[in-house]
């Protein structure tokens, strides 16, 4: 742990750390004061800029945005899980002609920027009259990208189960699908649950990309609310409220991931080491 980088502080180091603490806190307080003054000078605390949140219509608007965000995230989660399961199964297949295309698809969709994936559905629908709404473009884009990442997580989870487990299962006469279903998967799921939940945080955050392709989600609603003249263009109050909602939701999920990780470390009911949570993430 990081504590190895410095000795347990003695009296002099303690005094120095205390002084540094005070200096840093003063600097932070200074920055905060500056921001608050800046906001105040530009009238961002005026009642008329915040008054909109008292109106039932505005609250309903925010709620609609939130529901649309959750709806896209929920559907994309289910579809991405299915996509991930199918392609993970393809990637661990014994047959080369199944493995190769599955690998290609997974690697391709992980490499294309998510926004471009959404553009494919968005512009494709316009061009071929497919009748897809921006909602579909968001959901399908999220599904392809996160499904591919989940496929990698599933595969990593299954290959992380020690070889002996598989060999023992085969030795007792189980068939291939029984080995995977009865022995490998139950152990793999425990080890990859934290990584899956972390990926869901990414998915939830990425619904905000819907803003760019005019999907009526939370951020899109916020932009419209911020652009209203009668409330003095309340961009800052609105983004503040929306940020609290996003950060709250994602933090809850992140905490769940952390809790699951801690739990699986405390009680090992699986022989597999935990799947690494990759820090790489899209928007």
């Amino acid at each position: 742990m990081s504590a190895v980088l410095y000795d347990v502080p003695g009296p002099r180091a303690k005094a120095r750390n205390r002084i540094l603490n005070v200096i840093v806190l003063l600097a932070v307080a200074g920055v905060i004061t500056w921001v608050v003054l800046r906001l105040n000078d530009n009238g961002q605390f005026q009642g008329r800029r915040w008054a909109q949140f008292q109106y039932a219509a505005i609250q309903r608007e925010l709620l609609t945005g939130l529901v649309n965000t959750l709806r896209a995230a929920g559907l994309a989660t289910v579809l991405a899980m299915l996509f991930g399961a199918v392609f993970a199964a393809g990637r661990i297949s014994d047959h080369k002609w199944v493995r190769m295309p599955a690998t290609l698809v997974v690697e391709l969709f992980r490499a294309i920027p998510l926004l471009i994936l959404m553009f494919f559905f968005y512009y494709g629908s316009l061009e071929f009259q497919l009748g897809l709404t921006p909602f579909h473009a968001v959901v399908f884009g999220l599904t392809l990208y996160n499904g591919s990442v989940l496929a990698e997580i599933f595969r990593a989870g299954i290959t992380a189960v020690p070889k002996g487990q598989r060999e023992a299962a085969y030795a007792t006469g189980l068939r291939k699908n029984q080995v995977v279903r009865l022995v490998l998967l139950p152990q793999a799921i425990r080890s990859m649950l934290p990584a899956i939940v972390s990926q869901l945080v990414v998915l939830l955050k990425d619904t905000a990309l819907g803003f760019i392709i005019t999907y009526n989600e939370l951020l899109y609603v916020a932009k419209q609310m911020g652009g209203r003249l009668e409330f003095g263009f309340p961009y800052i109050p609105t983004y503040f409220v929306v940020a609290v909602i996003y950060i709250g939701l994602c933090s809850l999920l992140s905490m769940l991931a952390k809790y699951l990780e801690g739990r699986s470390r405390r009680s090992r009911k699986t022989t597999a080491p935990p799947v690494q949570i990759e820090e790489s993430t899209a928007a």
Binding site: A111, P113, L115, K205, F211, L219, G226, S251
Partner: protein
């Protein structure tokens, strides 16, 4: 199919050039800011640790599009606009990516065996010396593969700037729609462009993984 690219070559060139500049500038800035934040997070000063932890926890749970929205629409309302859209995009990408860089650097620092830092301390090095001379140079080796993933994510994230009036690769489809060009082929070419940019990074990652596996 090729004519879509050749007839609009200047658009594609301009777009990808801006993407590349966005990537390089915000990549370097995020590496610097992220490393500083990681140093905060392992420092003996409680207040600095608090800043690092707070920053990472907030930014990691914020959508990048929201960061962009705030800097492009919100900051102007408190007269804090950056000189150009390009620099506002760089600021958004840097603020966001450095939180992830910080976490990678920190976990890299944690892979170094305590003996290294203890030995460094016993010859009388200070915290900053231990970190910059002994721990970080070793940590950077373990850091390269996950850091490459972050840089790849950053490269892909630059497309979000297209939604905020920066004319980079992600903005090509809208411009091509105005010209009445085939959208699907445009998107295919953009995909190929991104693959060309990403594949060297992936090879760098594989190479670094092999090297650290041996060491």
């Amino acid at each position: 199919m090729l004519s879509v690219l050749t007839d609009n070559w200047e658009l594609f060139r301009e777009g990808f050039w801006t993407t590349l500049r966005l990537f390089l500038v915000s990549g370097v800035l995020s590496l610097v800011l992220g490393t500083v934040l990681a140093a905060f997070r392992v420092s003996p000063v409680t207040a600095l640790r608090g800043i690092g932890t707070g920053y990472v926890n907030i930014v990691r749970n914020t959508p990048l599009t929201l960061v962009f929205s705030f800097l492009f629409f919100g900051a102007a309302k408190m007269q804090l606009s950056l000189p150009t859209f390009f620099w506002a995009a760089v600021a958004s990408l840097t603020l966001y990516t450095s939180a992830f860089v910080c976490e990678v650097v920190r976990s890299g620092i944690n892979t170094i065996s305590p003996g290294q830092a203890e030995a460094a301390r016993s010859v009388g090095m200070t915290f900053v010396q231990v970190l910059t001379i002994v721990v970080l140079p070793q940590a950077y080796r373990a850091i390269v593969p996950p850091m490459t993933s972050i840089l790849i994510a950053l490269l892909k994230n630059t497309t979000i700037a297209a939604g905020f009036s920066v004319l980079e690769a992600g903005a090509i489809p809208a411009a091509m729609a105005e010209r009445g060009q085939n959208q699907m082929l445009t998107l295919v070419w953009i995909t190929i462009g991104f693959l060309i940019l990403i594949i060297p990074l992936v090879f760098l990652q594989r190479w670094a993984e092999r090297r650290t596996a041996v060491a």
